[in-house]
C-alpha cells in the first residue's frame, strides 16, 4: 500500500533525532539532508523540521541542465546522480524551500531522496522511523484522510500542503493551527 511522509509540524521537540538518523541511511555517506529550525529562538523553544517535500512538479529537477535529478516512480525526487551532476547549483537556487545541499569539494549536489532504498519497499524513511514525537509519520492515504477528517472543523482550521505551499507535493504537511491563530482539535 502506498504510504506518504506526513508532518505534524508543531509536535516537534527539537531533539534532532531525524537529522542523526538521516546520516545513517544507505547512500547518504554520513551526511544529513534535512533541517530543524527554531521558530522564535530568543523567545521560546518551539522547533520545526524542514524536509524536502518531494514536489509533484519539482523546481530543482526542472532547472537542472544535466537531468541529474530523477523522479522515482514512487514520486520521490531523488538526489543528483553522481556521474551526471555538473555542479552548476541551479537546483539550490530553484528550490522554493532551500533544500538541496552542495558539496564544493566533490562538485556534487545532494538532497533528501526519501531514503529510496527503504521507501521503495514500503519501509518508512529514517527520519520518520526515529521521530519520538509523531512529528514525522509514514501513513497510508486513508490514514491521512482520517487525520484530516478528525481535524476538519469546516472552518479552515485544518490545512494540508496546498494552498499554503508553492505547489502540490508528495509529502503532506499538517500546518500548525495553533500558531496560525486557530485551534486544532485532538
Amino acid at each position: 500500500m502506498k504510504k506518504r511522509l506526513y508532518i505534524e509540524l508543531e509536535n516537534c521537540i527539537g531533539c534532532r533525532s531525524c537529522l542523526a538518523a538521516c546520516t545513517q541511511c544507505g547512500g547518504h555517506e554520513q551526511r544529513n539532508r534535512n533541517y530543524v529550525y527554531d521558530v522564535n529562538p530568543h523567545v521560546n523553544r518551539q522547533t520545526m523540521p524542514l524536509m524536502c517535500l518531494h514536489c509533484e512538479n519539482p523546481a530543482c529537477a526542472r532547472s537542472c541542465p544535466a537531468q541529474a535529478i530523477q523522479i522515482h516512480e514512487t514520486g520521490a525526487v531523488l538526489s543528483a546522480l553522481v556521474e551526471k551532476c555538473i555542479g552548476c547549483q541551479n537546483c539550490t537556487i530553484a528550490c522554493p524551500y532551500g533544500i538541496p545541499k552542495f558539496d564544493e569539494e566533490e562538485n556534487l549536489m545532494y538532497k533528501c531522496d526519501l531514503c529510496i532504498d527503504r521507501t521503495k519497499d514500503g519501509i518508512p524513511p529514517m527520519c520518520a522511523s526515529v521521530c519520538p514525537s509523531n512529528t514525522l509519520q509514514w501513513l497510508t492515504e486513508e490514514e491521512i484522510e482520517q487525520k484530516q477528517r478528525r481535524h476538519d472543523l469546516d472552518n479552515d482550521k485544518w490545512v494540508t500542503s496546498m494552498p499554503y505551499l508553492e505547489g502540490a507535493t508528495n509529502v503532506k504537511v499538517n500546518l500548525p493551527g495553533i500558531l496560525q491563530g486557530t485551534e486544532k482539535l485532538f
Binding site: L9, R16, S17, L19, A20, C25, G26, G27, H28, E29, N32, Y35, V36, Y37, D38, V39, N40, P41, H42, M48, L50, N57, A59, A61, R62, S63, C64, P65, A66, Q67, Q70, I71, H72, E73, L78, K84, I86, G87, C88, Q89, N90, T92, I93, A94, P96, Y97, G98, E105, E106, N107, L108, D113, D117, Y164, E166, G167, V173, P176, L179, Q180
Partner: protein, 362 residues
C-alpha cells in the same frame, strides 16, 4: 533508466520535434561527411582501409545517430540550452584549460569523494579513452603501419610518414601493446567498481542492473575478449582469431549503441561541467545577488535570473506578492527560515540569529 522518468511538460514536446528533424539530419550529415573526408585523406584515397575493422565503422555510424538523437533533445531543454549557449561564449576564459584538465583529466573532484572511487575511475576512464585514441584512427585509416624496410616500421598518420622505428624497439613495443595495457587498466578499474557495488552499503542503496551494472559488464567483456585476441595471436598462432575478433567487434558495437542512453552518456556530456564552472566564475565576478532578507551575496545576478526564467518556461513562479520578493532572491538559510515563517505564522526569517545546529552532533 526504466524505473524513473523525468516528466516533460507536454506543451514543449511539439516544438522540440519540429526543430529536431532538421537539426538531427543536419548534424548527422555534417559529421558523417566529415569522417568520410578524413578517411579519404587518411587512407590515401581509400587505398589503406583495414576491412578487418569494418564492424567498428558501421558501429560508429550507428553510435553517431544515437548520440545526436539523444543529445539534441537534451540540448533543447531550457536550462541545458542556457548553459551550453553561455558556456560556448565563455569558452576562452583564462581558466578554461586548467579547469578542463582538472575536471576531465585528473578528476580532482572524484578524489574528494574517495581515493578508491578516484582510482577506479582513472583506470576505467583513461583506459577507455586511450583505447579509443588507438583504435579509431586505425579503423578510419587515420593511422597505420607499413614495413618498407625490413626490421623497421613506418607509422603513417593522416597520410604522412610520421616516424620510422625499429620493429623490436620500445616505441614499437608500446604501439603493439597499447591496447593490452589499456585493457588491463579497464579490467582492474571495472573490477574495483564491481567490488564496490557488491560490498559497499553506500553504493548498494540506489543501484539498478541496467543502469549501474550493465555498462561495467560491457566494458569488462570488451577488455577480456580483446586480451584473448592477443593471447590467441601470440600463443596459439592465431587459432580462433577470426571468431574471437567478431565477438570482440560485436561487443564494442553493442557498447557504442548503448552509450548515449545509459550511464555512459555522461562521457560526452561531462565537458558541460567546465561550462558550468566558467558560468559561475564569470558572472560571479560581474555582479552578485544580495539576499533580499539578510543582504548576503549568495549567487550571481545572472544565474538567479536564469533560474527564474527557466522555471517560468515550466510555469513555475515563486514570486511572494505579500513580501515583495521572488524566493530565488533569498539566500538559502533565509529561504528556509522564510518557509518556517510561512508554516508557523511567525516571521522567523526576520530574527537576526544564525541558523541553529543542523548536524545533530550535539
Amino acid at each position: 533508466m526504466a524505473e524513473t522518468v523525468l516528466r516533460k511538460p507536454m506543451k514543449a514536446t511539439h516544438s522540440i520535434n519540429n526543430a529536431f528533424a532538421s537539426k538531427f539530419a543536419k548534424s548527422m550529415f555534417l559529421t558523417v561527411s566529415g569522417i568520410i573526408v578524413l578517411m579519404f585523406i587518411g587512407t590515401r584515397m581509400f587505398t589503406h582501409v583495414d576491412l578487418n575493422l569494418y564492424g567498428y565503422m558501421v558501429g560508429t555510424f550507428v553510435f553517431i545517430a544515437g548520440f545526436f538523437y539523444r543529445f539534441i533533445a537534451w540540448g533543447e531543454r531550457p536550462p541545458t540550452k542556457i548553459i551550453i549557449k553561455k558556456g560556448i561564449k565563455l569558452l576562452f576564459r583564462k581558466s578554461t584549460p586548467k579547469t578542463s584538465v582538472n575536471h576531465l583529466g585528473t578528476y580532482e573532484f572524484i578524489w574528494n569523494r574517495g581515493i578508491y572511487r578516484w582510482t577506479q575511475h582513472l583506470l576505467i576512464g583513461w583506459g577507455v579513452i586511450l583505447s579509443c585514441l588507438v583504435t579509431f584512427p586505425l579503423v578510419f585509416g587515420w593511422m597505420y603501419f607499413t614495413m618498407e624496410e625490413n626490421g623497421y616500421y613506418t607509422i603513417v598518420a593522416m597520410g604522412m610518414d610520421l616516424m620510422t622505428v625499429p620493429a623490436d624497439g620500445v616505441i614499437a613495443f608500446l604501439s603493439y601493446n597499447a591496447l593490452n595495457i589499456t585493457a588491463i587498466m579497464v579490467i582492474i578499474g571495472v573490477s574495483m567498481a564491481l567490488y564496490r557495488r557488491l560490498k559497499n552499503m553506500q553504493a548498494r542503496a540506489e543501484q539498478k542492473f541496467i543502469y549501474d551494472f550493465l555498462p561495467l559488464y560491457l566494458l569488462l567483456f570488451i577488455s577480456i575478449t580483446g586480451l584473448i585476441l592477443t593471447f590467441m595471436n601470440v600463443f596459439l598462432h592465431g587459432a580462433g582469431h577470426y571468431a574471437m575478433s567478431l565477438i570482440h567487434q560485436y561487443s564494442v558495437i553493442v557498447t557504442l549503441i548503448y552509450l548515449p542512453f545509459g550511464k555512459l552518456a555522461h562521457i560526452p556530456f561531462r565537458p558541460l561541467s567546465v561550462f558550468a564552472r566558467n558560468y559561475r566564475e564569470h558572472y560571479g565576478e560581474q555582479s552578485m545577488k544580495e539576499c533580499k532578507v539578510c543582504g548576503d551575496e549568495f549567487v550571481s545576478t545572472e544565474q538567479s535570473q536564469d533560474v527564474v526564467n527557466v522555471l517560468g518556461t515550466n510555469e513555475i513562479d515563486f514570486t511572494m506578492e505579500q513580501d515583495g520578493f521572488n524566493l530565488a532572491e533569498l539566500c538559502l538559510p533565509c529561504r528556509r527560515k522564510y518557509r518556517i515563517a510561512r508554516f508557523s505564522g511567525f516571521p522567523t526569517h526576520e530574527v537576526k540569529t544564525k541558523e541553529a545546529n543542523q548536524n545533530a552532533k550535539g
